[in-house]
């Protein structure tokens, strides 16, 4: 068959790329080979536009066992315990079929974690939808939420955290990012690197069907009117089978049978076999007749490109096949030796006793294209908003506007659809700054959270990038955890557009600077480009997933006020930065100006000292101050509590709007007992932490002296209304 330009383009490859393929092969590829190149060389698998920039991220630290480059990152939390985690996007599939797209996203990220020998212990997600009144939003949100729940609930892993945001730039391109966190024994981590010649390559899990063929290249293209045509490629998730697969793999991992193991994710059998071989510097030979197939007459092309879910590839030590098969039989799963490792450094595909395709592994992996795409720097849009020019409003109304907005509304409509308690180690559920998961049978715990700030990143990506890392770090500190490492999911528009590439590069620089300063390395991640339709691109939306450690946990710290008449302290300085704030957006639809500056030094110092106070058990409750400012944070604390607050008007900053709604960074609210105040003030002063005594808790009412007084009950109602429409 002659490969025409049209066929090349249909495979999502550029003509120049096709020319390099011919050079690498010294010949024209056949269709099977072309399909394999397209699967490996697309943006999603090859990271061709992002790779040179990702290299700049800090990935090392004494807590890091495995950084990026494996199925998931691994960190050390002491006592031979390791935490394995990663985040991944499933944006395009979720827009086409929200339930299945989201479900298989969860399934995929879980496999990345248990592939490494970890039992998953928590799921999180970051989901972004179009404007709340856009016609599709409601059904997309419904579908995505039930898909996430459907998969996680069925497999029995608690979904404990996440974020849900709305903004019109996601109207035609929603974001669904799923994060999984697992626990492993440090000395029992499994990797994907193949070793040894003539070792059995084993296929386990579900059968291969025609689903998801070209899924990875779909994730690497913009949507257009013709995307509908691609619908038949939708994959259906089977969480029941995944549960069996997970248990079977974890059972097999108890002895020393496995040399290497790799899940079949994007680009299925192709990428898993190539990845194992390339990391091991080996070749791999597959006999495709042996691949367990669901449909009749499947071709090698279809088998190699299928993205059927719930499958794994394992390379076994000699002589372990029999025992391993017994385990998979017990769990009613397919287990077939479909090939072996070779010394040819090639991927060799046999079918009907004939070689149907043969490609040097390097051509698919290290020789895949890398682009240094053009990008332009964002010009800072310095624009100060003068409140005097704006229509007068009342503080109370502005607050209500924020609390009743979908982005700030109480999300229990969503989180009640997720089983948060299964496994019986969830000490703090979603709705808090971070979730706390106890390590089974031990008295230590991890805290986990995901965060993004698309508005900040859009207006000034460098600051935005720094800010999300800091916010994420703050969320962990707020529950008393020492932040250890992050994973990141970089959702951006079309990288061939110089402005968007600029957003990417600068966000990444921001992330890098913050991570370096905070000793908060990146251990895994994912990049999702081409989020946009017909040249309308989404806001740059990097999502950060952070993991922290609570060494010895006595009781989980949350943001519920605990007592009447406790003192409230605001940590960090309030300058009154209102540009890019929730206040201006919700009340005036103003979106101009720069995001609040990040002072990494203060961020680190404030965080560390707050953590110290928490560890000394001096804090009753705590909460970080983020979008919506001080007043929103205080309201959030009151809404979940029996107690409200009585706050004094500020002494220094006289504009109340700036004081209460400003989104200055590095701030926390702490509830403390009066008797501890001197001790705490001493620590703060000795460590140069700026703080203010802002008021006290009181019964039932949320009050700013001389300004407003609302009952907690009313606040609760306001905050809960929006989702009731569903």
């Amino acid at each position: 068959m002659k490969i025409s330009n049209k066929i090349v383009e249909k495979h999502g490859l550029k003509i120049e790329e096709y020319e390099s393929i011919k050079k690498l092969l010294n010949r024209q590829p056949n269709l099977l080979e072309l399909g394999i190149f397209s699967a490996m060389w697309n943006e999603h698998c090859s990271y061709k536009s992002s790779r040179i920039h990702l290299r700049k991220l800090p990935t090392k630290g004494k807590q890091v066992i495995q950084g990026p480059g494996e199925n998931a990152g691994v960190i050390d939390i002491g006592d031979n315990d390791a935490i394995v985690f990663k985040i991944e996007s499933h944006n395009h599939p979720s827009y086409i079929e929200p339930y299945q797209g989201a479900a298989t996203g969860v399934g995929g990220i879980l496999r990345d974690v248990f592939t490494m020998g970890a039992r998953p212990i928590a799921l999180l997600n970051s989901i972004h939808f179009g404007s709340p009144d856009h016609t599709k939003t409601k059904s997309l949100l419904n579908g995505v939420v039930s898909g996430i729940g459907g998969y996680g609930n069925c497999i029995g892993i608690p979904t404990v955290g996440g974020e849900t945001k709305f903004n019109e730039t996601y109207n035609e391109n929603i974001l669904v990012n799923a994060m999984a966190v697992g626990h492993a024994n440090k000395d029992k981590i499994f990797y994907s690197k193949a070793k040894g010649l003539n070792k059995s390559v084993v296929y386990v899990g579900s059968k291969t069907g025609r689903d998801g063929i070209h899924g990875a290249s779909m994730a690497s293209a913009e949507f257009d009117e013709n995307s509908e045509e691609k619908k038949p490629t939708v994959q259906v998730g089977d969480p029941f089978t995944e549960k069996l697969l997970m248990e079977a793999c974890l059972e097999l991992m108890k002895d020393n049978s496995i040399i290497s193991i790799q899940d079949m994710g994007a680009a299925g059998l192709t990428s898993s076999s190539v990845e194992m071989a390339s990391k091991g510097g080996l070749g791999i030979e597959l006999e495709l007749d042996k691949v367990p197939c669901r449909e009749e007459n499947m071709t090698p092309y279809e088998m190699m490109l299928s993205e059927s879910q719930e499958r794994m590839l394992i390379i076994l030590e000699d002589g372990k096949e029999h025992n391993a098969k017994k385990i998979f039989d017990k769990w009613d799963l397919d287990f077939v030796v479909i090939g072996k490792t070779t010394n040819t450094n090639k991927l060799t595909l046999k079918f009907n006793n004939k070689i149907q395709g043969e490609i040097p592994i390097e051509a698919l992996a290290s020789k895949a294209p890398i682009y240094d795409r053009k990008w332009i720097k964002k010009k800072p849009q310095k624009k100060e908003i003068n409140l005097k020019d704006l229509k007068k409003i009342k503080i109370e109304d502005a607050l209500i506007k924020i609390l009743s907005n979908p982005n700030h509304s109480n999300k229990s409509w969503i989180t009640n659809q997720y089983d948060q308690s299964v496994m019986c180690d969830t000490a703090l559920k979603s709705g808090s700054d971070a979730a706390i998961i106890r390590i089974h049978n031990k008295d230590k715990a991890i805290a986990v959270t995901v965060d993004s700030s698309a508005y900040y990143c859009k207006s000034y990506p460098l600051t935005g990038g720094k800010q999300i890392v800091c916010e994420n770090w703050r969320n962990l500190i707020s529950v008393g955890a020492k932040p250890l490492a992050i994973t990141n999911c970089l959702n951006f528009g079309n990288p061939e557009n110089e402005e968007i590439m600029g957003e990417f590069v600068e966000c990444l620089t921001g992330i890098k600077q913050a991570c370096e300063f905070l000793d908060y390395p990146v251990v895994s991640g994912n990049v999702s480009f081409y989020n946009g339709t017909n040249k309308k691109n989404i806001y740059p939306t990097p999502v950060i997933g952070g993991v922290g450690l609570i060494k010895k946990i006595t009781k989980p710290l949350d943001h519920n006020f605990k007592k009447n008449n406790s003192n409230l302290i605001l940590i960090g300085k309030t300058f009154g930065h209102l540009e890019q704030s929730c206040f201006l957006r919700e009340n005036y639809s103003i979106n101009d100006g720069l995001p609040p500056e990040i002072n990494l030094k203060n961020e680190k110092n404030n965080g560390e000292i707050v953590l110290k106070l928490i560890e000394e058990d001096l804090i009753l409750s705590s909460h970080d101050v983020s979008d919506g400012g001080l007043i929103t944070a205080l309201a959030e604390m009151s809404i979940v509590s029996k107690y409200g607050v009585k706050i004094q008007k500020p002494k220094k900053l006289t504009n109340l709007f700036k004081y209460f709604f400003g989104e200055d960074q590095a701030r926390y609210i702490l509830e403390i007992e009066a008797i501890n105040l001197p001790k705490i003030e001493k620590v703060l002063k000795n460590n140069d932490v700026y703080y203010e005594n802002i008021g006290f808790t009181q019964k039932d009412y949320f009050e700013i002296e001389g300004e407003l007084k609302i009952s907690n009950k009313d606040l609760f109602k306001i905050n809960n209304e929006w989702y009731n429409n569903f």
Partner: protein, 79 residues
Amino acid sequence: MKFSVTVTLKKDVLDPQGKVVQNTLVNIGIKNLKSIRQGKYFEIEVDESELLTAEKIVDKMCKKLLVNLVIEDYKINKI
């Protein structure tokens, strides 16, 4: 006028339920089973006496809500 609508998964779409049900039937000793596919069924009554119009209404329900056109096919029958 009354209609029945049957909704089934498209060919080539994974049917996790069907697989498990089939295995179970075999396990509990049912012989001669060649294949089983599971789907949804609706009985719909509409207040409309003109067949074509009535059918159109039902079709609209299917497209708008009852059927997930991405992965499912459907058939409408008058009953």
